[in-house]
Each structure stands twice: as structure tokens, then as C-alpha cells.
């Protein structure tokens, strides 16, 4: 699978790390996504479950054998809406050749 499809893919089960956040305490939170809402990700870390907002944060995520840096604003949809909205976003983005 191509890495750009992370925007249209299920995030539960992916390994993520918070790289940038307005809240310094959130930077470095690392683990596996266990649940997701429209605006938040629930990450299972070594210290327990952490809920991190998507908007304004940047995540490092392992997907399709590559490590990607994704802005949370791009994934701030309900997981069930993401296929539709993610593909639409990729289609509209300049320089992204889907086919």
C-alpha cells in the first residue's frame, strides 16, 4: 500500500508518536492507537491510556513499512468518514498521483 493512503486508512492498531503539540507534556507520547473519535486519538502507552487531540498536533506514524509525519488536522475526521474524505483530499492535492 502506498504511504499517502494513511489519510484514508484505519488508524486503530497503528504505532504513533506525538512529535509536535502546543502542550509540551504531550510531546513524546508513543504507543499503539486503540481508539479514535473525530477529534482525538487514544494511545496505549507504557504508562497507560492517553487521549491526544488531533488538531494542532503532528504525529509520527508507522504505515506501509515507512515512517510518516502527519499533521493531525489532516486526519481530524470520524474514522468512518475518513475513506471518503481522505481520498477526496488526496485527489485534490497537487502533485499526488493516485493512479
Amino acid at each position: 500500500m502506498r504511504p499517502e493512503f494513511v489519510l484514508a486508512h484505519e488508524w486503530i492498531g497503528l504505532e504513533v508518536e506525538v512529535v509536535e503539540s502546543p502542550n509540551p507534556c504531550e510531546i513524546g507520547i508513543r504507543g499503539v492507537v486503540v481508539d479514535e473519535t473525530m477529534n482525538t486519538l487514544r494511545i496505549k502507552t507504557e504508562k497507560g491510556l492517553k487521549t491526544v487531540a488531533k488538531k494542532g498536533r503532528t504525529f509520527r506514524v508507522k504505515f506501509a513499512g515507512k515512517v510518516l509525519r502527519v499533521k493531525g488536522d489532516l486526519i481530524a475526521f470520524r474514522p468512518e468518514d475518513r475513506i471518503k474524505k481522505g481520498i477526496l483530499m488526496l485527489k485534490r492535492a497537487k502533485g499526488v498521483w493516485l493512479w
Binding site: V6, R60, K66, V70, R92, G95
Partner: protein
């Protein structure tokens, strides 16, 4: 530092402080690999534009020249990256707004100022100030370039930036837009704004 020109620059051009050039030509396959290839589309109408867009290769940056009608339809096309500057270009409020929505950059070049004088240059300055004001309002992508068609129309980067700064352009923003535009074609790790591949990192 990158500049958009209409000819293949020689070694002298690199002394002006540019690291790389994007050369726009109607036949980019003839351009050397040392420069980034830009496909200049000169169209009379929308049909011709679409026909020429089909010939564009994936690694060519696409810039369009034409009247207001052509520019309006060019802004709507996904494959178009840039509305190139030329003497007599018309850009209106609606087109700039559309350029922002569709992520098409607007080139503002210094060469047309060098090729005009007197009252015509004065009008050009007025028009450019208006355009910059609209671009600022919508935060539309724009690039400040020399747009030179020969070496003697080229100017150092600093001079270009200072000139447009006087006319009210946000120079740093222009740099960022230009970098983003070029990264789309040169950086394999760049996918889109906010989505990049990190090569050297391992989980």
C-alpha cells in the same frame, strides 16, 4: 534559492545567488537535466489548454500563459501549478480567489518592469500593487521571480525581494510558497502539505 526563468541559464547565472533554476519552455524535453523542467503552455482558449495539458509529463512543472478566459480555466485544472507572468497579463479578484482554493501559484516577475518604461511602467506598478493586495487578502500562493528570458534580465535574489517588498509583498511567504512548489517535484519524501515520509527514523 530558486528562480523561474524562460531560458537555460549558464554558469554566470549561478553567481547571482541562486542554487537552482526552473526553466519554462514550450518543449521541456529539450531542456538539460541540470535544471528543473517547466512546461510553458501558451493557449488561446480552454480547448487548446486542455489539449496541451495532456502532453505534460509527470515531472514537469506546468505554467500557463493566456488571456483572462484561459487563466480562469487554467486555475480550475488540477495539473496546472502556476500562472506565469507576462506583459499584459490580466488577473482579477475572482481568479486570485480561485487560485487560492485550487492551490495554483501566481507568478509575479520583475522582467516585465525591466522591459517597460515611463507611463507604462507606472501603470504596471499600480497593477502589481493591486494584485499583491488581493493576493495578501486571500493568502493565495504566489512566487516572486525574475521571469527572465535572457541573462541580462536576471537580477540577484535580494534585489528581486527588495523590489517587491516595496510594492507590499510578503517576501517570506513568497519564499515558502516557492519552496513548497519546487519540493513537489524534487523531494521524493514530500507527499503533500502536512504529510511527509521520514526516511532516517525507525520506530
Amino acid at each position: 534559492m530558486i528562480d523561474f526563468v524562460r531560458f537555460v541559464p549558464d554558469s554566470r547565472a549561478y553567481n547571482l545567488g541562486f542554487e537552482r533554476f526552473v526553466v519554462f519552455s514550450e518543449n521541456p524535453s529539450e531542456l538539460p537535466d541540470s535544471v528543473l523542467k517547466g512546461y510553458l503552455i501558451r493557449a488561446e482558449n480552454g480547448k487548446e489548454l486542455i489539449e496541451k495539458l495532456r502532453r505534460a509529463k509527470r515531472n514537469w512543472m506546468v505554467g500557463v500563459i493566456g488571456d483572462l478566459k484561459v487563466i480562469r480555466s487554467a486555475v480550475m485544472r488540477w495539473r496546472v501549478d502556476l500562472i506565469l507572468d507576462f506583459p499584459g497579463r490580466e488577473m482579477d479578484y475572482v481568479t486570485v480567489k480561485m487560485a487560492k482554493e485550487k492551490d495554483v501559484a501566481i507568478e509575479i516577475s520583475i522582467s516585465k518592469f525591466l522591459n517597460s518604461e515611463g507611463l507604462r511602467r507606472l501603470r504596471l506598478v499600480e497593477e502589481t500593487i493591486d494584485l499583491i493586495r488581493i493576493v495578501r487578502k486571500f493568502d493565495a500562493p504566489f512566487v516572486l521571480t525574475s521571469g527572465a528570458s535572457d541573462f541580462y534580465e536576471m537580477r540577484p535574489k535580494r534585489q528581486i525581494m527588495e523590489f517587491f517588498e516595496i510594492l507590499g509583498a510578503d517576501v517570506e511567504r513568497a519564499e515558502r510558497w516557492m519552496e513548497r512548489l519546487v519540493r513537489r517535484y524534487t523531494d521524493p519524501n514530500y507527499i503533500m502539505d502536512g504529510l511527509e515520509i521520514e526516511e532516517n527514523f525507525k520506530f
